[in-house]
Structures are given as C-alpha cells and as structure tokens.
Amino acid sequence: MNEPSMDPPLAAVVLALADDEHMVGARHTAWIGLGPFLEEDLAFCSIAQDELGHAIALYEMLPAAQASGIDAFGLLREPSAYRSSWLAEWECTDWADSLVRQWLYDRAETLRWEWLREMSSPPLADLAARALSEESFHLAHAEHLLCRVMPSTEEAKRRLVASTSRFLGMSDNFWVDLDLGLRQQWEQLVAGDLARWGVEGTALLNTPQVAPADRSVRSPGFDAFHAELTEVVALDPSAIW
C-alpha cells in the first residue's frame, strides 16, 4: 500500500492527518456508554471507529510505519515524534467539548480529504474518496445535533459557545505548516455554521491563541493519555496480542 509518488511534503501532511485521526478517534472512545442518550452513544462509537480506520489506512501508506508495523508506529513513538494537533489530542471531560471538537475537526478533516483527493494519486486519492463518504455522515451528525441544541436553551448556548472558543484558541496549532490554503475556507464554514445556529462567529474566530504554532509540542495531558494507550502493549514487547 505504499504511496509511490509520496514526496516529503506530502508525507508530512499524511503523517499529521494520520496522527490527528488516531488521537481524535482514541479520544472519542472515552464517551462510549456515557453519551447523553443511547442513540448518541451509538453514533459517536461509529465516528470513533471511522477515525481509527482512517488512521490505520494512512499509517499503512507511510514507509516508516510499514517498517515498524502500524501498532508500533501508532503507539510507541516518542511523544515529540507525533504530529497530531492539540485539538485532536485534547481530553474532553465535558460533552459540549466533545461535540464541538467533533464538529470543528470534521469540518477541517473534510477539507483536507478533499485536498488529498484532488492533489494526490491512487491509492491515497482513492482512500480520500472513501473517507469523504464517511465524513459526510460525521458532519451530518454534528449539524443535526448542534442546530437543535445550540439555539435551544441559554445553558446549552453558553456551554457550546465556551467550547467553541476553547478550541478556536487552538487554530494556529491545528493549521501550522498544513494550511494548504484551507484555513480561510474552514473559518468561513465555521462562521456560517455558527450564524445558522444563532451565534455571531467573528469574535470567536479571533479568540486569542493558547496553543503553540508547532505540532511537535504535545498538549497538556498527552503524556498521561499516551501512557494509557500503551499500558498493555508495554507489558510485554515480545507478545502478540
């Protein structure tokens, strides 16, 4: 499954996208069984599986991951070798954070997959086309829930706007080196969504940045999360699980 024409800049994009998919998929799993209602549990579980599937497919295209195996590559690198964003890595202990992260992330992810579909060749372009068919469901999930919840009560609006502000403060970190001309488009889409849901987005999009514009710097909480991800595999490096 190697991508024969993958030059170093494209490989950097693929690695960042793969690590983002891995981290966001792994973080989504924290809500399994604990969503606000059962249908939401099931939906979030499907999204988490899709994101992990995308991570696996992307890792398989990276020569470094092919050499070490995707589990070793995905789980056992040094923290500084990951290129995931703070948005993807962030521990969401509140459902509002988790839902807003899913919306903002999938808005960006869709643009990136579209870019990969247009700018790369098979098999990466084929993977992008397949992933986009799944992303449409992820975006529909966020849209259908947020359009009803965000404007409904003062508490819901307050929580969701606070979450939106929190994550928009990580935008520089998310787009650094990987803008690909997409950040402006993303911001327009986010502002459009917010407007439909009765929220003025201009001030939110100018939220002061709290995360470094450097994807080699891990987010607070990453070390503990990484230790959790590798707890079993580290028990016996010679074992096949």
């Binding site: 998929g25 988490a48 589990d71 919840v149 409904s152 819901a156 595999v233 028990l235 016996d236 096949i240």
Partner: protein, 316 residues
Amino acid sequence: MTIAQRSWNDLDDFQTFIDDGGIVEPTDDIPEAYRDEVFRFIEFHANSELMGGLTERDWIPKAPGLRLKQIFLAKTQDEIGHAHLLYMVAADMGVKSRSEMLEQLFDGRSRFHNVFHYQAVTWADQIAIAYLVDAAAFASQRAVFAECSYGPYKRVLKRIIAEEGFHMRHGEEMLLRLAEGTPVQREMFQAALDRWWWPAVQLFGPDSAPDDPLLAWKIKSQRNEVLRDAYVQKYVPLLQGYGFAIPDEHLTQDPDTGKWQTSEIDWEPLKATMRNGGPDSRRRIATAATNWSDTAWVRDALDVAAHARTANETAA
C-alpha cells in the same frame, strides 16, 4: 389499518394459547401477570447489556493495537445497541418509559447481571469477559430465543444472538492468542480466569423454581441448572486443554460418564450483586449516574427544541 386485539378469558385460557405455540404481541390484551413478569425480564436484560458495555469500556483506550481498538469498540457498540433495542421493546409494554428505566438503574433501584458488578482489572479480564461471559450470555439468550412467546422480544433476540455469536468467536480468538503467548500473557489470563470463572458460572442463576412462570410462559426454554451444567461440561475441558486451571479445588470428573461436577456453588456473591452490593457495583452505577446528570442539559435542550418545533407547526 385496525389491528384486532386478541384477549383471553383467564390465565388458563392464556396458558393454553402459550402451550400451543402462540406468540404474544403488544397489541394483545396481555394478562397483567405475564406483562409484569416479561417486562421485568426484558428490563433486566436491557440493563445488563448497557452495564456490560460500561464494564468493557474501561479497557478500550488501552487496547494493544489500533485494529483491536476498533474491534472492541464495535463489540461495545453492539452491546449498547442491544440495550437500545431492548429498552424500546420494554417501553412498548407500557409499564415504564425508557427514561424511567434508565433513571431507576442509575438510582440503584434496578438490577443487572451479576458479572457486570465486577471490575476488569487487566487486559486479560477483558478477554475473560469476551470468552467466558459472552459465551454464558449467548447460551442463556439462545435458550430464551428458542421458544420465546413474546413476539417483539423474540425478533430482537434474533439479531442480538447473531451478534453475540461473533463476540463469542472473537473471545475464542483472543483467548488463543494469550494461551499460545508469552508467560506474561498466560499468567495474566490464569489470574483473570481465577476472578471470572465463578461469576460466569453463577450468571445462569440458582436452580429454577419448580413453578417458575417464565418457564411456563415460554420465555425461558431451559431450566437454569441445565444451562449451567452444559456450560461447565463445555468450558472445563476447553480451558484445561489450553493449559489453564479451573479455580475449583473440588472439581471432579465422573470416571464412567466423563461429566464434570463443580464444588457446591456459594450463591452469596450473586445475591450481593442483586442488592447492587457487588465488588464494583457502587463505582459502576455512580459513573453512569454522574454522567447521566452531567449531560442532562443536552436532553433538556433537545426537549425544548422539540416543543418549540411542535408549537410552530401547530401555529402554522
């Protein structure tokens, strides 16, 4: 379309209908005793699927591989999906709404299977659940499906059993990896077996009462002790064949019949779980209850949105 409501003169008349293989539907004039008993059974099953998902979720982030994580996610999704289907079947019986059932579960006023009152403390416990507990649940559910007299439950069980069959085979594959693995893996699984063997055996419950109405009304097709014995006869030799020791000092095998006989079962641990007093009952229920409370704002917002939409449609 109008659906004719079937009714029965008395419980004897209803019993004859059941004995003749009749299937009860929600549109029937269901005898209250049958409705209450079957509802309790389905509610217990639904609660168990949900709490089972919560038992397994603890180790999903720690799954030692990305594909394994996807697989355990899918399995947990199945369990929650089963709970979802079963709560709908139970709610349609008109005894409690889904919200009432969930709130009573999170208040500690409802029951769920004994095995989900224990905590998975290592990855091997996750495998023991997949191998031992899913197999016990599969046997139990298949016995209910066999002659089930309540139509909606039987139809939902068909799907549940199909998925549980996959879970059981997945458990077997995962166990084989540990059985054929390193000393660390084998020690982990033996320790897990020591923790989970008796709860799995106890899952089938004490011997059925002679007049168990669930047997008479064909919700259960087999007595508890029959299912439990079949499980012991199957899993003792399998586990020993993989080189693991059954944690039962007095386990014997009849030299003539080859049948395995466990030591006398101590039912006190099972009774404790039925009082929500098992080893992990408090944490399990508290986690679910806290989260239910913390996410109430989402349900409230959706209720407000739904009422506003209804009001707008009415005004138009």
